[in-house]
């Protein structure tokens, strides 16, 4: 173990405001992102809370229909573009990628800082839109409603997302180049931790899908401002073209959210089962396969939108294929647990929760990819439940697990382990209580985005609101005990989990330049000693 040197770590290498706001240190930029996206998360969560209060009763009595539309739109817009998309890549990715590669920093440190400022400017535009009354189109911005009829801050919001998109692109490019060029001596591609593989796959999507969204939002904005008819059927435009381009980005975007979480799970499972990952290569290639297939399945969002039946058939078949690499991962993680020496620390509880919830989310995705069944459950709470199982049960559980796993590395301190475990468990319970009833309500016909509903659905909605309250506590507690730990927690030491991986071989928190010398790698990832079966 390397001795601690608390005076020279990245947290203490300069205390001025400019040493933070002008930093090019990937670790400090990760913290800047952590604070920003945490703020956005709780803002969007507040919108969700208001939605859940409204839905307690079948009548629309808490907010007006108009306000309700704005609430679910702002919830979606901020959660997706200002929390989920940046979450793991910009916080854990920024912090860990150079450490895992044995590098001093990312390939383009100044661009990395620029990406945070661009993200922040995009966020300010979106907040300005919120102050200007919000936006009521749903996060999908479908024309012609968004371009010709909506009486809300569409252009301002679209501008915010457009700007934030460039921050995504820059992060993606930076990660791709870094992984190619800054691996430590001996760190070959197949010795990389799987978290790096998932970041690589994610970065490919960030770099190749985001520009399509950018141009699309630009078209929506100019159509709205100038009355041009690119997507307006009354002016000869094709609204379906918008949907094609939108989902060409937005379907891969789901994999931007879930892939890094899968990486976190691979790191966590191996550490807390004290085993090498079962099927390293198949897990690595599964990440690339998910990223690749992700670009070929967008049409499954348009089965009922008037798309040709032959297109739908092919999109349906391709969507089923995504299940294969996803299942490979789930089976590999499960096989890793087999005969492992398992300890159920906080990060492990999140990882196990992820596997269960992701499996449900993935399998219900197959329901939706089936042409016939989709007609019945399209635009119902079934869809809402499905994508929350992927995005919250999958992506956010992975993010929370990752934060807990690497917290001692980031802060140099331990948190209260019992609080951590308790929170992981109530998050899991609260999540299921919130979203499982929505599968049932959706299957029985409860449409999404409705402000009032048939009283027969009230029991399901009540359970959801109850669960959301528990889930909310699961997100508030870490704010308290991690915040406390940051200043008062006991020192963690370099490697509190006794984990493999380069990031654990430098002090916690790491020194400004990460390693005292360039590390040399001569073994594969997850080199945990195998226990005799």
């Amino acid at each position: 173990m390397i001795a601690e040197n608390p005076t020279k770590d990245y947290l203490h290498a300069g205390h001025s405001v400019s040493s933070w706001l002008g930093t090019t240190d990937h670790k400090r930029i990760a913290l800047l992102y952590l604070f920003s996206i945490t703020g956005f998360f709780f803002l969007a969560a507040a919108a969700a809370l208001a939605i859940r209060i409204e839905l307690l009763t079948p009548e629309g009595d808490f907010v007006s229909a108009e306000t309700y539309n704005r609430l679910f739109t702002i919830h979606g817009v901020i959660m997706i573009w200002f929390f989920l998309i940046p979450s793991i890549p910009t916080v854990l990715g920024n912090f860990l990628l150079p450490l895992m590669l044995g590098a001093k920093d990312l390939a383009f440190p100044r661009l990395n800082l620029a990406s945070w400022y661009i993200f922040l400017i995009g966020g300010l535009f979106t907040l300005a839109a919120l102050i200007a009354g919000g936006v009521d189109t749903g996060w999908t911005f479908y024309p012609p409603y968004s371009t010709h009829f909506a009486e809300s801050a569409v252009v301002l919001t679209a501008t915010g997302i457009f700007i934030a998109g460039f921050s995504s692109i820059i992060t993606g490019l930076n990660f791709i180049v870094t992984i190619h060029t800054l691996r430590a001596p001996g760190l070959t591609w197949f010795r990389l931790p799987l978290f790096v593989w998932t970041l690589y796959a994610t970065s490919l999507i960030l770099a190749l899908a985001t520009p399509v969204l950018a141009i699309l939002l630009l078209l929506v904005a100019v159509e709205r401002i100038g009355g041009m008819g690119i997507f307006n059927p009354l002016q000869g435009g094709d609204p379906l073209l918008f949907q094609h381009l939108f989902w060409f980005y937005s379907h891969p975007a789901v994999y931007i959210m879930i892939l890094p979480s899968m990486g976190v799970v691979s790191e966590t499972i191996t550490c807390f089962a004290r085993k090498r990952l079962f099927g390293y290569k198949s897990t690595a290639f599964a990440s690339l396969a998910i990223a690749g297939y992700g670009f070929l399945v967008w049409g499954h969002h348009m089965f009922t939108a008037g798309q040709s039946a032959y297109s739908s058939l092919i999109f349906s078949a391709l969507s089923f294929l995504v299940a294969i690499p996803s299942a490979i991962k789930v089976f590999n993680w499960t096989a890793t647990l087999y005969k492992g020496s398992i300890s159920l620390d906080t990060p492990m509880l999140y990882a196990l929760g992820f596997i269960g919830l992701f499996t449900i989310g993935g399998l219900t995705g197959l329901f939706l990819a089936a042409l016939g069944l989709d007609v019945h459950i399209h635009d119902t709470y079934f869809v809402v439940a499905h994508f929350h199982y992927i995005m919250v049960g999958g992506a956010v559980m992975g993010y929370m697990g990752g934060i807990h796993f690497w917290w001692p590395k980031i802060s140099g301190r331990r948190y209260n382990e019992s609080m951590g475990r308790f929170t992981a468990i109530i998050t899991f319970v609260g999540f299921n209580l919130t979203f499982f009833p929505q599968f049932l309500a959706g299957y029985l016909g409860m449409p999404r985005r409705y402000w009032q509903y048939d009283p027969s659905f009230q029991a399901y909605q009540f359970m959801s609101t109850l669960g959301a309250t528990v889930l909310g506590l699961g997100y508030l507690f870490p704010l308290v005990y991690l915040g406390w730990s940051f200043f008062r927690g006991p020192r963690a030491g370099a490697n509190p989990w006794e984990a493999a991986g380069l990031e654990w071989q430098t002090p916690s928190p790491p020194p400004k330049h990460n390693f005292s010398g360039t590390p040399v790698v001569n073994e594969e990832a997850y080199a945990y000693p195998e226990y005799p079966g």
Binding site: H180, P211, I215
Partner: protein, 223 residues
């Protein structure tokens, strides 16, 4: 380009450049960054080309008719200007590799001037279009040139958006070349001046290639 994985390379790392072990790796990373960025740009324009393709299939006849309102002469002139500018940029890259800084600055300046000439002609074309009522927006007095006002409106929408975004890219390119030329003149570039010139050159050629597609799609569609 060798991937850094031997101990020899680690020894060579004594000549580290920032986070890079050596200058070769910095060069490798810079090129890869620009190529990856150009892939992003391809998808950016790709969405617009997709929109063009969809509407060309919907409204083929009207598209070819409307394209006749554009001036082939000025379109062709601009194509020639951009192609020549790519040649001058290639000369700038060559001069930078030979460390001939003054010559390189001259070529960069020439290329930037050609870019400005292109933009000047483009703006003149847009102004002519506006005078003749071809601006397809709101209450700007759109005067459809033919019998399919909706399709003509979409053609002209796409024309203004795509050439506009291309023009913006060119404008950024001109800024890049000018700043490089100035830094070259003031000797502000490192002892490897060819790296930023080559990177900016890649971008310039890309913007040129986009125009190579825009020109036939809009100006030659009806001929």
């Amino acid at each position: 380009m060798p991937i850094l994985n031997t101990l020899d390379d680690q020894v060579a790392a004594s000549g580290a450049v920032g986070q890079f072990p050596d200058r070769m790796e910095e060069r490798h990373a810079s090129f890869m960054g620009m190529w990856a960025f150009l892939a992003t740009e391809m998808l950016f324009f790709g969405a617009l080309f997709t929109a063009y393709a969809v509407y060309r299939i919907h409204y083929g006849e009207a598209f070819t008719q409307t394209s006749k309102v554009l001036s082939v002469f000025w379109g062709a002139a601009n194509t020639a200007i951009l192609l020549v500018s790519s040649l001058t940029v290639a000369h700038a890259v060559r001069a930078s590799r030979l460390k001939r800084k003054a010559e390189c600055g001259l070529w960069l300046g020439t290329s930037a001037l050609l870019g400005l000439l292109f933009l000047g002609i483009k703006i003149m074309e847009w102004a002519t279009d506006a005078r003749e009522g071809h601006l397809p927006w709101g209450s700007l007095g759109f005067n459809p040139p033919g019998l399919h006002p909706e399709a003509e409106r979409i053609f002209l929408n796409l024309y203004f958006i795509m050439t506009g975004i291309h023009g913006l890219h060119l404008f950024i390119g001109i800024g890049l070349l000018v700043s490089l030329a100035v830094r070259m003149r003031r000797n502000r570039l490192s002892d490897a001046p060819e790296l930023p010139v080559e990177i900016a050159g890649l971008y310039w050629h890309f913007v040129d290639i986009v125009w190579i597609f825009l020109y036939p799609l809009f100006y030659l569609a009806g001929r």
